[in-house]
């Protein structure tokens, strides 16, 4: 599926025609990331982050496969084998630091990607399934990252695994059984480490599979754009290649430069010193904290400090932490505003930035010991997180008066405003239609504005 004016693949050589008849792989590439895929011409740099997330996953898979060649998933050998990689394997230090720092970069890129989607309303119709697949990827990433962190079998690995798996015991009736079943024993031990290694190797490929679905779902309606206005005609788009391949390549170069800088100069800046101490089930670290990318959710978990309505505090925390991510699945139906982009939503935009600040506050509270006033701040921040998605967003969509929308992407690029000022869904009939004669003209050359 693509726009009617998308260019069509024309094999030029005999071999090209032969291959196109037997296995049209070049045609597939051409139609999905080549000149045959028209994309809105106003995508800004925030739209680089989807591609960067894919690049980050590839770095994780390649470095991870090499690490697995030298790693031993055994509680008595795991920590030593990691140090063996750092000291004795050729360039092992580079591979391991790339993998460890790469996880942080992957999450940073994905969080920017998600907040970009939130700001420009990319979760709204017709992209709900695309968005939900993205939430699935986030969940899988969290599971993969958590289990990968455990593999080091340092102090924070072991105690992190203990604390997180212990959450399952909060489930009523079957909690203890579930906990024992997950760990393969009554405490995190060799059985746990082995299954985590197995799953940590599996999950990236599951993520890759869901990414294929994610990109497939993207290609049905095509990319959203900073105006949130639908593509109306060829004057609104450019072919993905060479325009966005060139832009993505520039983005990738800058990303890799930052990545190389952190890997080579600050590889342990985001890690915990305690994880350079081998796991010791008899000595609890002073403060058990997960990696930075899980801290906001950890803060939500910790914020439920009292039993309420006959539900114990621990179960509240687990329910809330699960809900904090699960609610994202429902976001397309919680936000009923017909306008996608926050550029034209003056009220919702304010709450968007409050949410960004709120997540940073939650992250800070999650990473620090539970002392006042941090506990209360964390509780208020967690309350805002739920209020934002479940109460404020649906309400704002009802009362907000959006700003005038541009008539088309092309108009927005040229700086014109809509004559009617109505949101997309409320444009008068006939107003959205593509100007006659441009359909299927095959050219993506920008048309002069009407």
């Amino acid at each position: 599926m693509s726009f009617p004016w998308a260019k069509h693949y024309q094999p030029t050589t005999t071999f090209g025609r032969y291959l196109d008849a037997k296995l049209p792989l070049p045609r597939f590439i051409y139609d999905s990331v080549g000149a045959g895929y028209p994309a809105p011409k106003n995508l800004n740099y925030f739209y680089n982050f989807g591609f960067l997330a894919g690049a980050a996953l590839m770095i994780q898979i390649i470095t991870g496969i090499v690490l697995a060649m030298h790693y031993r998933a055994d509680t008595s050998l795991a920590f030593d084998s990691v140090e063996h990689i750092m000291r004795d394997v050729n360039s092992g230090w580079l591979i391991r630091y790339m993998h460890a720092v790469g996880a942080s970069f992957f999450f940073a890129v994905v969080y920017i990607h998600i907040f970009r989607g939130l700001y420009y309303g990319s979760y709204k119709a017709p992209r709900e399934v695309l968005w939900m697949l993205g939430v699935v990827i986030l969940l899988l990433m969290m599971a993969a990252a958590f289990m990968g962190y455990v593999l080091v079998w340092g102090q924070m690995s072991f105690w992190g695994a203990t604390v997180i798996t212990n959450l399952f015991s909060a489930v009523p009736y079957v909690g203890e059984t579930l906990h024992t079943w997950l760990l393969g024993g009554f405490a995190a031990d060799n059985a746990t480490l082995n299954r985590f290694f197995s799953l940590h190797y599996l999950l990236p490929f599951v993520i890759l599979g869901v990414i294929i679905l994610h990109v497939w779902a993207l290609h049905i309606p095509g990319s959203n754009n900073p105006t949130g206005v639908d593509v109306k005609g060829p004057q609104d788009t450019v072919p993905f290649h060479p325009y966005y391949t060139a832009k993505d390549f520039f983005g990738l170069s800058v990303y890799l430069m930052l990545f190389a800088g952190v890997v080579c100069f600050l590889p342990n800046a985001l890690g915990e010193p305690d994880n350079y101490i081998p796991a010791n089930p008899l000595a609890t670290p002073a403060e058990i904290v997960p990696e930075w990318y899980l801290l906001p959710f950890y803060a939500i978990l910790k914020s439920f400090t009292v039993d309420f309505l006959f539900i114990p505090a621990k179960l509240w925390g687990v329910l809330a932490m699960v809900s904090a991510i699960a609610l994202l699945f429902f976001l397309p139906w919680l936000d009923t505003s017909p306008v996608r982009s926050n550029t034209y939503r003056p009220l919702n935009r304010i709450f968007f930035w409050v949410l960004v600040a709120d997540c940073l506050v939650l992250g800070y509270c999650g990473g620090h010991p539970p002392v006042e006033p941090l506990v209360r701040i964390g509780q208020l921040a967690a309350a805002y997180y739920f209020a934002h998605f479940l109460l404020i967003v649906p309400f704002v969509a009802r009362i907000e008066k959006p700003l005038p929308l541009p008539h088309s992407i092309n108009e927005a690029v040229l700086g014109k405003e809509s004559k009617t000022g109505a949101p997309i869904g409320l444009q008068p009939p006939g107003y959205n239609e593509t100007p006659a004669g441009t359909l299927g003209s095959g050219g993506a050359t920008p048309q002069p504005a009407e």
Partner: protein
């Protein structure tokens, strides 16, 4: 329906959290450790390069060797560096014969090849520095209940790294009047609990005779051994930094070229000119 359900769930979580937030808190007793605990003193390390930035610096081989001398002469009475092999010392400037001779000074646990009984043999360059105690129980039995940690990774395993090591071993002092130090422990404001089982390792100037004639002050010895332990924790530090400088320079140049080609590709979209041929 979705919005109604969301409203209910949202209200439930918000009310629960606000209820938790308005609960009175137990009065907190001020932690006496907080009052006296000190953060490690930050030092400009030669191996952190200009501006202490950690980009260009390399280890001073003479300092590493002095640091090894301090480790061998003082720390190794109780602390092992079991992740370091004798052959690794080639990186800090030891020659092959020196390493061979050094390895021979150590007994390595082995099996007698005639009787099969546990025995020991002379160390080889490929061996790791042996453990001081065969296991934790033996260590605690010999050390009055305390466990001297392996020092191979210590600068990466403690907040503050080399600064912490330097501050800890030079930071012993008399305890404040309202602070009780249990018998057999020593007061040190840089240690997490303020009471450390390790006796002050550096007794005074000249405790070690440096081969290169450097004056062995307490501060000098502490700096040297902290530098040596930074190397044991991160032996590939220099390769990492030089790789980083090359990679960042290369990728910076690539970014400039990628930016220029991006601008060139988009020129006809952003600044359309009559008759211009699109880049595609």
């Amino acid at each position: 329906m979705v919005r109604l359900g969301a409203f209910g769930v949202g209200l439930l979580f918000v009310v629960t959290l606000l209820w938790a937030a308005v609960q009175p808190r137990d009065p907190v007793q001020p932690d006496p450790v907080e009052k006296y605990h000190l953060a490690p003193v930050a030092i400009d390390w030669s191996w952190r390069g200009p501006g202490n930035a950690g980009i260009f610096g390399t280890f001073d081989r003479a300092q590493l060797q002095r640091g090894f001398a301090v480790y061998k002469g003082i720390c190794s009475a109780c602390h092992a560096i079991h992740r370091v092999a004798f052959r690794d010392l080639a990186d800090i400037g030891f020659t092959a014969p020196q390493i061979k001779a050094l390895a021979k000074e150590y007994d390595i646990p082995s099996i007698d090849d005639k009787t099969g009984e546990p025995s020991t043999r002379k160390g080889l360059p490929s061996d790791k520095f042996p453990l001081i105690y065969p296991n934790e129980i033996a260590a605690r039995a010999a050390q009055n209940g305390a466990l001297p940690p392996d020092l191979s990774l210590i600068t990466k395993a403690r907040e503050g790294g080399a600064n912490y090591v330097h501050s800890l071993i030079t930071g012993y002092r008399d305890a404040p009047k309202d602070w009780q130090v249990p018998d057999g422990l020593y007061y040190n404001p840089y240690f997490r609990s303020l009471n450390v089982a390790m006796p002050p390792p550096l007794s005074g100037d000249g405790q070690i005779e440096y081969a290169d004639g450097t004056k062995a002050t307490k501060d000098q010895m502490a700096r040297d051994v902290a530098t040596f332990l930074t190397w044991t924790a991160e032996p590939k530090l220099e390769a990492r930094r030089s790789t980083g400088v090359a990679a960042v320079l290369f990728l910076a140049a690539l970014s400039v070229l990628a930016y220029l080609s991006y601008v060139r590709v988009w020129a006809d979209i952003k600044h359309p000119k009559a008759g211009a041929v699109p880049a595609e």
